[in-house]
C-alpha cells in the first residue's frame, strides 16, 4: 500500500459566505422577533389593564408597601404630622401634598381613594406615578420649580398617568418582558442588550401617546384650579431641561431658529426615538388644546419658593397639626 501525502483541504470543513453578513442577518432576526414579541405583549397589556379595578390595585400595592417595611403607616397621624413639620423636607411634602389634594378634587370621577406624595433626593428633575396612588417627585424638581402652577402641572401630569392607568401598563410590560427573557434564557446574557434595545423601541410608541395624553389631562385640572393654563410652557422650557439631554434640546432649538413649521428628517427621527415626544411637540399640542378649550394661556401664578409662602406653609403645617391634636 502506498502512502498518499496530502495537504488538508480548506474547502470542505468551513462554511462559505461572509461572517459579517451572517451576523447582520441574525441581528436583524433578533431585533424583528423581539419587536414583534414585545409589541404583542404591550397590546395584550393594553387590553388587560382596564380590567384591573383601581380598588384592587390600591389594596395590592398598599400591601406591598406594608411588606416592604413602611412602618410610618402604623404611627398615629398627629405624630406623623409633627415629624413632617419638623424637617424642611417634611414641610415640602406637606406643601406638595396640599397642591396635589386640591388638584385631585377637580378629578371628579377619580376611582382612587387618595394620592400620596413622597420626595426622592435626586438632582435630576423628575416625577413619577407608582401603582397604588403614590407620586414621587425629586428634590431637584422642587428646586427648579418657580411657581406653584408649574408644580401643579407636573403633579397633574402624574395624575393623568393614573387616569390612563399608565403606571400599570409600564409595570405590566416590564414584567411580561422579563418573563419572556427568562423563558428564552436571555437574562444577563450579552444578547439581552440587543433585545432590550428592540423592546425599548417598541415601548416608545406606547409611552409617547401616554405622555401627551397625561399633559392634556393635567392642563384640564390646572384650568379648573387656577382659571387659566399659565405655567405649562415653563415646565418644558426651564424645569425639565436636563443637562444630559442637551443633544435633543439642541435639535429642538435648531428647529426653532429656522422658524420652520414642518420638522426636518433629523428632528422627526430624534422625536420618534425619544421616549417622551420632544418638548416642542408637546408644547404645540398643549397650546392647540388650550386654544380649543378657550382657556387663558397666561394669568397670575402663585409663588412657590418665596419666604412668604414658606411662612404660610409653616403656619398651615402648624394649623393642620393643631387640628389633628384636637
Amino acid at each position: 500500500m502506498r502512502f498518499d501525502s496530502k495537504l488538508p483541504d480548506d474547502s470542505v470543513n468551513m462554511g462559505d459566505g461572509s461572517p459579517v453578513r451572517e451576523a447582520g442577518l441574525l441581528i436583524i432576526g433578533v431585533l424583528v422577533t423581539v419587536l414583534v414579541i414585545t409589541t404583542a405583549l404591550a397590546l395584550s397589556i393594553e387590553t388587560l389593564v382596564p380590567l384591573v379595578p383601581p380598588s384592587l390595585e390600591v389594596r395590592v400595592f398598599n400591601r406591598v408597601a406594608e411588606l416592604a417595611g413602611d412602618s410610618n403607616e402604623e404611627a398615629p397621624a398627629a405624630d406623623k404630622k409633627e415629624q413632617e413639620c419638623a424637617t424642611p423636607d417634611g414641610t415640602r411634602v406637606v406643601k406638595v401634598q396640599s397642591i396635589l389634594d386640591r388638584l385631585a378634587t377637580h378629578w371628579v370621577d377619580s376611582p382612587y381613594p387618595a394620592f400620596h406624595v413622597f420626595i426622592l433626593e435626586d438632582e435630576l428633575p423628575n416625577a413619577f406615578a407608582l401603582p397604588g396612588g403614590a407620586i414621587g417627585v425629586t428634590s431637584g424638581l422642587l428646586d427648579r420649580v418657580e411657581t406653584e402652577n408649574e408644580l401643579a402641572f407636573i403633579l397633574g401630569h402624574e395624575l393623568g398617568h393614573f387616569a390612563g392607568r399608565d403606571h400599570l401598563r409600564g409595570l405590566g410590560r416590564g414584567l411580561a418582558i422579563s418573563v419572556v427573557w427568562m423563558a428564552l434564557g436571555l437574562s444577563g446574557d450579552q444578547v439581552e442588550g440587543l433585545a432590550s434595545s428592540a423592546s425599548a423601541f417598541s415601548a416608545r410608541h406606547f409611552d409617547r401617546t401616554q405622555e401627551s395624553d397625561a399633559d392634556l389631562f393635567s392642563v384640564q385640572l390646572l384650568a379648573s384650579e387656577y382659571g387659566h393654563a399659565a405655567g405649562t410652557r415653563a415646565v418644558f422650557e426651564r424645569v425639565l431641561i436636563d443637562p444630559s439631554t442637551e443633544e435633543a434640546d439642541g435639535i429642538k432649538n435648531e428647529a426653532a431658529d429656522r422658524n420652520d413649521e414642518t420638522p426636518g428628517n433629523l428632528e422627526r427621527l430624534a422625536g420618534y426615538l425619544s421616549t417622551h415626544p420632544l418638548g416642542e411637540d408637546r408644547i404645540l399640542a398643549l397650546d392647540a388644546f388650550i386654544k380649543a378649550s378657550r382657556w387663558a394661556a397666561d394669568g397670575e401664578q402663585r409663588p412657590w419658593r418665596t419666604s412668604a409662602s414658606e411662612d404660610s406653609l409653616v403656619e398651615d403645617c402648624g394649623e393642620e397639626l393643631q387640628e389633628l391634636n384636637d
Partner: protein
C-alpha cells in the same frame, strides 16, 4: 441620544471591532498553518494502528507523541454563535476556529515527531475538552483544548 439607541450602537461597534481584530488574527494564523503544513507534509501521519512496513525495513522504536492547543473564542464569534442558538443552523464562525485548532494541534505533533527523528505517526487520534470559566455562574466557556496524539515510529533496515 436615546439610551436604547446608544446601547444598540455600542453593541454593533464592539462587534465590528471584535470582528476586525479576530479576522486579522485568523488570517495570520491560517497563513502560518499553510506554510508549516507544506514543511511537514513528508511525514506520513495515519489513523491506522499499524503501518505496512516497506520491504527490507522493520520497526526500530516507537514513542508517544502529543500536540495540543488551547483556544478561546473572540467576542464576535461568541455573539454570532449565541444568536445561532436561538435560530439554529451551522455555527460557521466556530467552524474556522475549530479547523484552525485541529490543524495547529496536528502540526505541533508532527513538528515534535520530525525533531525527534520519527519516520511516521500511526494511530493518530484527536480529543477535545472544554475549559469551564467562572463567568455566567460557571456555565461560561473559557476555551477549548484540542489534543492530537499518536504513536511515532522509527524504522530501520533489516539487519542494520
Amino acid at each position: 441620544m436615546d439610551p436604547g439607541l446608544i446601547n444598540l450602537v455600542f453593541v454593533l461597534v464592539s462587534l465590528l471591532l471584535a470582528f476586525g481584530i479576530g479576522e486579522w488574527i485568523e488570517r495570520r494564523h491560517y497563513k502560518s498553518i499553510r506554510v508549516r503544513e507544506v514543511e511537514c507534509k513528508h511525514l506520513p501521519t495515519v489513523t491506522l494502528e499499524r503501518l505496512p512496513v516497506p520491504k527490507g525495513w522493520t520497526y526500530h522504536s516507537a514513542g508517544m507523541m502529543t500536540g495540543h492547543v488551547v483556544i478561546s473564542v473572540d467576542h464576535f464569534k461568541r455573539f454570532v454563535a449565541r444568536l445561532r442558538q436561538l435560530f439554529g443552523g451551522r455555527i460557521r464562525t466556530y467552524e474556522t476556529l475549530m479547523d484552525r485548532a485541529r490543524r495547529e494541534a496536528i502540526l505541533r505533533l508532527k513538528r515534535k515527531a520530525l525533531d525527534e527523528g520519527y519516520h511516521a505517526i500511526v494511530n493518530l487520534r484527536i480529543e477535545s475538552s472544554r475549559l469551564a470559566s467562572s463567568g455566567r455562574k460557571g456555565k461560561g466557556t473559557a476555551g477549548v483544548e484540542i489534543l492530537a496524539f499518536g504513536t511515532g515510529v522509527r524504522m530501520k533496515k533489516v539487519g542494520a
